[in-house]
Amino acid sequence: MTLLLSVFAAVISTAVWYKNAPDDKMKVGVLCWMFWGASIMWFVDAVFEYIELGSEFFKPSPADMLNDAYLGLSVIALALVIWVVVLLIKDPKGSVRAALFKNKK
């Protein structure tokens, strides 16, 4: 479930990045790297789990699925927070600087 959520997040963020490419003023690329990196790593994790559990891997208990979905959504929330922090620090549009110094003339 965590892998699925992260793959969906990666695909959506890549589509948004592509729509605005080559301009990346919203720094959506940061989200793409994070979600794709995590998806690759969780895919490897899933393969190892499949080797260990066999077909049982595809029959998770509802409690496990719910916990994994909760984790996946939390991971997406964390990635979005990191993205917002990077966006505000790098401030590619200069909006933060403009807002901070709007009274300074």
């Binding site: 790297w33 994070m34 990196g37 995590a38 969780w42 964390l78």
Partner: protein
């Protein structure tokens, strides 16, 4: 248990390598930072993505994934905010299991990420060649 440490360590190494490569590229062509334009024997301009930028792609993939996996490990209680930070490191049996997992899943994560980066390099190389071929053809027409 601590499989994400292997790609995280690789990310640190590639970040350092990218910085070294960037400094070398600046010494070679101090004007261009993002795009390196070199002149060959036929004096045709060739676009080439700097290697430091390509290395940064790998660093971003490894670091981004490692950060989110770090959160997952905190979620599962495998990382604690006190020494030795990894809960599995507190007893030898769990530590051996952790090292085994790092050697199998961790190394596989790092290898697959690097292999995918390799595919990205190949695609970028083909795109560079196509772009240069188009520019040369346009130059011949003019």
């Amino acid at each position: 248990m601590a499989c994400f440490l292997v790609p995280a360590a690789e990310a640190i190494v590639t970040a350092a390598a990218a910085n070294i490569a960037k400094n070398r590229e600046k010494k070679i062509s101090p004007v261009c930072e993002n795009a390196e334009i070199s002149v060959n024997k036929e004096e045709a301009k060739q676009y080439k993505i700097p290697f430091s930028r390509k290395l940064r792609w790998l660093t971003n993939l490894l670091l981004g994934g490692s950060v989110l996996l770090l959160f997952e490990h905190i979620w599962h209680g495998e990382i604690a905010p006190y020494f030795p930070f990894l809960t599995a490191a507190s007893n030898p049996q769990d530590a051996a299991e952790m090292l085994y997992e790092m050697g199998t899943a961790g190394v596989a994560m790092a290898l697959l990420t690097t292999a995918i980066w390799g595919v990205m390099l190949l695609v970028a190389h083909i795109a560079e060649r196509k772009s240069n071929a188009c520019e040369r053809a346009e130059g011949n027409i003019q």
